[in-house]
């Protein structure tokens, strides 16, 4: 069973391959000089990536083999009338034939032709509260997308610093779902927005069970977002960005940082935290991770799992390190690469 891990960095993408999850080969960079921001894989094996440049804008590209890439015909784009600039593809999701892209400036797009052309979803992009949407430190971006596997008309989208929205009608209408989470920037007119979700993870068998790494802490909902409860027992800080769930064991993985003010690993220790009971309690994972003078963080897209048994967990840091665990996080290895700042990590099992 081989594993392919795609690491998207500020200066291109890299492909890591392993047959045993111990020894790794690296290829790349592809899209040299471009910021590779998100990766998805379609049912037929086609990879999709988002690549962005401060000079040349952002686009989606497709490849069957991670070598020969082709920019899609008509990627997500705003019209001149909308007075919005599309600067980055933040999240690509392909699930059961449905294609979604979350972008900055915040918006959600959908493709009906396997990612070749993309259409905006006005129910969210032109939400009645839109005029009050404010950016977070990473910009005004739609970065998290969830689809209910049992009912693809139920969708969730996380936008910084606006909050979580849910649609129950296939994306025609959207409703803020942030009850129980402290607001970060209260709007005078639209009190239901102004929340800063950082990442979402969903139980594969129960779409109503969603975990939320938020600016204001770690949260869980059991009713699809109608109510959120805080789950921080054992975490050194509620602040952080990535949140990953192993589909097999339901273990959760997070990378807390010391407060939004400092955004550094707590006490200079690079630790991944794991919960094996749905967020009720968290434990630090340190074996093989630097525990002294480690000040790199993990961006929201830069952690993934391969969902094998035991689960492989892959983490890329803001200083370009890649840490891998092939035993659910008990032991970690640093790969011998020093890559550019890691924006996204995506793991795929082959064969």
């Amino acid at each position: 069973m081989s594993v392919t891990v795609i690491v998207g960095t500020a200066k291109g993408g890299f492909v890591l391959r392993s047959d045993d999850r111990r020894s790794w080969q690296i290829e790349g960079p592809f899209f040299k000089g471009w910021k590779v921001t998100t990766v998805a894989r379609a049912d037929d094996g086609t990879f999709l990536i988002g690549a962005a440049s401060d000079v040349y804008g952002a686009a989606i590209h497709k490849s069957k083999d991670l070598s020969d890439w082709r920019q899609v015909a008509q990627g997500p784009a705003y019209s001149e009338d909308e007075k919005r600039q599309l600067t980055q593809i933040w999240k690509l999701v392909v699930q059961d034939g449905a294609y979604y892209a979350g972008v900055a400036e915040a918006g959600l797009f959908r493709s009906e032709d396997r990612g070749e052309t993309w259409q905006p979803m006005p129910g969210l992009n032109d939400h009645r509260s839109r005029s009050a949407w404010m950016p977070g430190a990473g910009g005004l971006c739609a970065h998290s997308i969830l689809i209910d596997p049992a009912n693809p008309k139920r969708l969730w989208c996380g936008i910084s610093a606006v909050g979580v929205f849910r649609s129950d009608d296939g994306g025609d209408t959207w409703h803020p779902k942030n009850n129980g989470v402290p607001v970060i920037l209260e709007d005078k007119e639209f009190s239901e927005i102004g929340f800063c979700v950082h990442a979402l993870a969903q139980d594969p068998d129960n779409a109503d069970l969603i975990y939320r790494q938020d600016h204001r802490g770690m949260f869980r909902t059991k009713d699809g977002g109608d109510h959120w409860e805080r789950i921080e027992n054992g975490l050194p800080s509620g602040f952080g960005f990535p949140l990953v769930l192993d589909r097999e064991t339901r273990a959760l993985y997070a990378a807390p940082l010391e407060s939004d003010e400092f955004r550094l690993p707590c006490d200079g220790k690079f630790q991944i935290f794991r919960s094996r009971n749905g967020g009720d309690a968290w434990e630090p994972l340190t074996n093989g991770l630097p525990q002294e003078h480690a000040y790199a963080g993990v961006l929201r897209g830069a952690m993934d799992a391969d969902h094998l048994a035991p689960c492989g967990v892959y983490v890329g840091t803001t200083s370009g390190d890649v840490f891998v665990s092939s035993d659910g996080g008990d032991r970690w290895n640093a790969l011998p690469y020093r890559l550019p700042r890691v924006h996204c990590v995506a793991a795929y099992v082959e064969g």
């Binding site: 899209f31 040349y56 590209h61």
Partner: protein, 92 residues
């Protein structure tokens, strides 16, 4: 019609199937831009912003002239002219 040479930065090579240097036939600068984007439609996204004008850090030189200095794009082209695209060095 003049045959002009187009030079693209290597970072955009993937958008043009690896063609970083090629020729087009055009009468004016505007024609040339139209032809380039017609031949390589995916370039439009990278050259132009949502308002249809050059992105702030995309430079287009007609021979030695920065086309931003021109009053408009209705500039006649001559055979052998070079149209060169590059990114602005604006900060480091």
């Amino acid at each position: 019609m003049a045959i002009v040479e187009i030079q693209l930065p290597s970072v955009l090579a993937a958008v043009t199937d690896g063609n970083m240097q090629f020729s087009v036939e055009a009468q004016t600068l505007r024609d040339a831009l139209d032809v380039i984007v017609r031949q390589h439609p995916r370039l439009a996204l990278h050259f132009f912003n949502e308002e249809g004008v050059f992105r702030p850090h995309v430079l287009c030189f007609l021979n030695e002239t920065n086309t931003r200095w021109l009053d408009d794009l209705e500039v006649p082209l001559n055979g052998g002219d070079t149209l060169r695209f590059m990114q602005a060095v604006s900060g480091g």
